[in-house]
């Protein structure tokens, strides 16, 4: 039977039509592809608009089209749109094929003749292919109403609370002993100078006590299986060596523990903790964890001071890591960021010059609950600085390190300037390339810091050194920079330097992304589905990204994203079921010779050998549709829906159609 094919060429405003002669493509398809069954070819300003879709629907109904080709954008953007349109008109949605002439033609080529010729080839390929398409039915699967949130910083807490308050269950997994994330380390938040702990702690407590939230701290996700609606997640709950049922959080174990350890995480290396510890007083949960590497008992076999003094016998040296399996329908990743390692900028001397501090160190230094009780002092622990230099863009906007702007550092630098001024009265210099104070009330804060008398020097600092050239520089740190507005090199002696270090992706972001089946950008941040219109979803259905895991951002934006992703998850949960692409492989038993070559190829163990019949069989529930077995079967007995040999061969032939002009630069 000859198919009746309709070809629709989209202008996409001028996105396609500006480079491709869309009218010519449509005319050509009608004339030259008639023998393939093309009965109508149209071009239209915006095919994806409701009018464009109606055009297709009308033709299906009136002309009795049996196949549809839309030459427009990438199928990843609008395949679904046109499939639904076809379905509305009574055509099986899988009989629609998209020819990408925007991402693959008009946006990447400039010569109009060449782009038009290539578009014809792409359309020809799609027409040949669509003839071989088979009607398919979507597979519907129920959605598990539970959600996994990975990361207990402010973005993850927000996500978890929104979903839990709507009445659905959340597993909140955090790798550290307490939730709170970086925000728990800060003293003040810009631009309002709210006390960070004061606004964060109530949220942490709410998440810790919420009946719909299972809080798993000191835990990490180690495996993810399944797909949207039906993920099976394995979580490693690391041994705490503290029985959570018995522990009252009284803190006596910490008091009695004889082993002092530098706290590299919460105190940013500026303070100490014990081997058994809660990272800070308001930690949620308030049960301590035992750090096995540093515990004297684990090292030498004696001590157990904590056990002796624990009033409830909650210390348990025999605890083991546990693997928990949870079933969830959706996953939100809120894994946050790492601070840029300022030692890499060796000309700023961090790690070599004692009084050069990183931003996180300064946060602890200025925090009333920090190692100096909020006294801003030099590394000697007592001297108050009389002059302080704050350097912006450390490791950011620099091709030697990270090319992107870390967004928060300008405001952070201004906040530091204010705190130094307020607490020490020191002269403060801010060294910046460009002052970026976009967003509500941010520039007003800049004005305020200017009023306070902070000195601003426009220039990226060249170096911080202790090599004095002149007598006024002796014993000081000298910040050498070009004052670009004065056009002169300046050497400014100060007592303390604070590096406003940038944010960078978690060191293990790539592995985490791989585990959850999502990708990272070149810079290493998780990639969102669409940079503007779908910033919290990912290319993998059912996986969402929020907060700094997706890119550098401030607290308000992280909170907004946390809430946004929750709305998306609740939408999915309330739909109760989700449709899956019916792309699966099947074995034709008549043709299978029982050679078993395919059996070993499937990483999902979907292929089983049926000894009685001497044939292999594919379990459709396990098959993920990669098609490797299809390509491997020597008898051609396995076929794959959606990407059959017939479809691909036809597409090859169509792309190479004889009377196409060669396409070149």
């Amino acid at each position: 039977m000859t198919e009746k094919i309709g070809v629709y060429v989209c202008h996409c405003g001028s996105n396609i039509a500006g480079v491709v002669d869309v009218e010519d493509v449509a005319k050509w398809a009608a004339e030259k592809l008639g023998h393939q069954g093309v009965v109508i070819a149209r071009d239209y300003k915006f095919m994806c608009s409701s009018l464009g879709q109606e055009l297709i629907e009308k033709d299906i109904k009136e002309l009795g089209l049996t196949r549809v080709v839309v030459a427009a954008c990438s199928p990843h953007l609008h395949e679904k749109t046109f499939r639904i349109a076809a379905q509305n008109a009574g055509l099986n949605p899988y009989l629609v094929e998209l020819a990408s002439i925007r991402e693959q033609v008009s946006w990447v080529h400039t010569d109009k003749a060449v782009a038009t010729a290539k578009s014809k080839a792409v359309v020809s390929g799609a027409v040949s292919r669509v003839i071989e398409n088979a009607p398919l039915e979507e597979i519907k699967v129920p959605i598990n109403p539970n959600t996994l949130v990975v990361g207990g910083g402010i973005a993850g807490i927000q996500s978890a609370l929104e979903i839990a308050n709507a009445g659905f269950h959340v597993y909140l997994v955090e790798r550290e002993p307490s939730i709170g994330g970086h925000m728990a380390q800060f003293d003040k938040t810009f631009p309002t100078l709210d006390c960070s702990a004061c606004i964060l702690t109530p949220r942490m407590v709410e998440a810790g006590t919420h009946p719909n939230i299972t809080l798993l701290t000191w835990s990490e996700v180690v495996n993810v299986a399944g797909y949207v609606g039906n993920f099976n997640v394995t979580i490693k709950k690391k041994a705490r060596f503290v029985n959570e049922e018995l522990c009252t959080g009284c803190g006596i174990c910490q008091e009695k523990c004889p082993k002092k350890v530098i706290d590299d995480v919460y105190e940013a290396g500026l303070g100490y903790r014990k081997a058994v510890y809660t990272p800070f007083a308001q930690a949620v949960p308030n049960y301590p964890v035992m750090d096995k590497e540093n515990c004297i008992y684990f090292e030498k076999g004696t001590c157990k001071a904590c056990e002796k003094f624990c009033p409830t016998n909650a210390i348990d040296f025999n605890q083991q890591d546990q693997l928990l399996n949870v079933e969830v329908g959706n996953i939100i990743l809120a894994t946050g960021y790492d601070l840029f390692d300022a030692r890499r900028v060796s000309n700023y001397g961090y790690g070599r010059l004692p009084n050069v501090f990183t931003s996180l160190e300064f946060e602890r230094l200025s925090n009333a609950a920090g190692p100096t009780n909020g006294n801003i002092v030099l590394r000697d622990g007592k001297t108050m600085p009389k002059s302080v230099g704050i350097i912006h863009c450390v490791g950011s906007r620099d091709r030697n390190f990270n090319n992107y702007c870390s967004v928060i550092c300008c405001m952070q630098g201004l906040k530091f300037a204010h705190l130094v001024h307020e607490r020490t009265g020191a002269t403060v210099y801010n060294f910046y390339i460009d002052m970026r104070t976009a967003y509500k009330a941010y520039d007003e804060f800049y004005q305020r810091v200017l009023e306070e008398g902070t000195l601003f020097v426009r220039g990226k600092v060249a170096e911080v050194t202790d090599a004095a050239r002149y007598s006024n520089e002796r014993g000081k740190l000298i910040v050498q920079t070009e004052d670009t507005l004065a056009g002169k090199q300046r050497r400014i002696p100060v007592d303390m330097v604070i590096l406003s270090s940038g944010l960078q992706p978690r060191h293990d972001a790539k592995e985490v992304g791989k585990m959850f089946g999502i990708s990272c950008s070149t810079d290493g941040w998780f990639t969102e589905k669409h940079p503007k219109l779908d910033p919290v979803a990912t290319m993998t259905e059912g996986i969402y990204i929020v907060g700094c895991a997706q890119g550098p951002k401030d607290i308000p934006s992280s909170v907004a994203q946390g809430a946004a992703a929750s709305a998306r998850v609740l939408d999915k949960i309330l739909q109760r079921e989700v449709a899956l692409e019916p792309i699966k492989a099947t074995v034709n038993k008549e043709m299978c010779s029982g050679c078993r070559i395919c059996n070993g190829l499937c990483p999902f163990n979907a292929i089983a050998f049926i000894a009685d019949d001497n044939v292999s069989e594919i379990n459709p529930a396990l098959c993920q549709g990669c098609g490797t077995c299809v390509a491997a079967c020597p008898a051609g007995a396995i076929s794959g829906t959606g990407f059959s040999n017939e479809q691909i061969n036809a597409q090859i032939d169509g792309l190479l159609m004889k009377n196409l002009e060669p396409v070149g630069a």
Binding site: S346, N347, R352, E463, T465, D466, A467, A468, R469
Partner: protein, 337 residues
């Protein structure tokens, strides 16, 4: 025996003779064989590049082309594609030509067109251009150097001075850091010396400014010497003929200019290696420096034989007056105080 091709560079035969002598003296102890590139020419230093582009790169590339002729094994000695340059400026020029001929193919083509006029050709990337200290630290290794030490330099307070053209721009990522590389520190420590952390280790010595704008250069030399002195160094140790020349030969001039009285000798690292390996100061070119190291070395039990002393400099009050401070308008007019 490990073979390398040697590009000595002009200064190794004149102002930095001591560097050449000491290098040759220590090679044997470390089982190294350097084969000089035959009929090499000047690399153009920092001057040729400022006049024109293609001739400058052709001048450099001639050496690379000549070196490729000696790459292959001859008479049983092993082949090599590594060219060693002991002079930092030569090292940078050779490495730069190799890098840019590749980065901008049109430059590479033109240079080869010029080379063809002399029957030569160089394919960028054929050779590995490396500095002497790179070979010693990374190929020979500090372990082997430590083993060769018979007279540790205990008590000798030195500042390691790497200079600027060696660790930067570092096209091939050979050094531990651009700003504070530790290779020279580690090597001197392996010799037993008391190494002082020197924040100015990769600062510039003034380069050709001693010739064209001496006041600019004097200030750079002052910074280096003053900081070394302040940190209690008895001696500076360098890897570069230009650095040695400027800090050594112009130290007295600099003192005159600023009215200071610094006296910090500067030796090549190979000279100290030779001393630690038990070689005689005479074999190492020690004693030809203008700021004498004799007193300092006596402190660690090394006696430097008296060589020919330079004619006694005129006393300051008898001397001719210094020029006025150079400015861009008056630079050409030398005036008498």
């Amino acid at each position: 025996m490990n073979k390398y091709l040697l590009y000595p560079g002009c200064s190794m035969e004149s102002s930095a003779k001591a560097y050449m002598e000491s290098m040759n003296t220590i090679l044997e102890s470390l089982d190294l064989h350097f084969e000089e590139i035959e009929d090499w020419n000047c690399c153009g230093a920092t001057e040729y590049l400022g006049i024109n582009l293609i001739p400058a790169y052709s001048l450099i590339a001639r050496n690379l082309a000549l070196a490729t002729k000696q790459m292959h094994p001859v008479n049983g000695t092993g082949g090599t594609r590594t060219v060693v340059a002991p002079c930092s400026a030569c090292y940078l020029n050779l490495a730069k030509a190799d890098h840019y001929m590749n980065e901008r193919p049109s430059l590479g083509e033109k240079v080869n067109e010029a080379l063809a006029a002399g029957g030569l050709h160089y394919e960028a990337g054929t050779l590995d251009v490396r500095h002497l200290i790179d070979i010693l630290v990374y190929d020979v290794g500090l372990e082997k150097i430590r083993e060769a030490v018979v007279h540790p330099l205990t008590g000798l307070k030195v500042v390691p001075y790497m200079g600027c053209m060696l660790p930067r721009p570092d096209y091939q990522h050979r050094w531990s850091d651009h700003e504070h590389p530790t290779e020279l520190d580690d090597l001197l420590r392996a010799l037993g010396a008391d190494v002082i952390d020197y924040p100015l280790t990769t600062e510039c010595c003034g380069g050709h400014m001693t010739q064209i704008g001496p006041e600019t250069a004097f200030e750079l030399i002052r910074r280096l010497v003053a900081d070394a002195d302040e940190r209690g160094a008895q001696m500076m140790v360098t890897v570069c003929p230009m650095c040695q020349m400027n800090v050594d030969a112009y130290q007295n001039e600099m003192n005159n200019y600023f009215g200071t009285d610094y006296h910090i000798p500067i030796l090549f690292f190979t000279q100290l290696m030779g001393l630690a390996f038990g070689k005689e100061p005479g074999e190492l070119g020690i004693g030809v420096e203008l700021v004498s190291s004799r007193n300092v070395l006596a402190g660690i039990g090394v006696e430097v034989p008296v060589t020919q002393e330079p004619a006694a400099p005129r006393k300051k009050d008898e001397g001719l007056p210094m020029p006025r401070r150079w400015t861009k308008h008056e630079g050409r007019k030398e005036t008498v105080k």
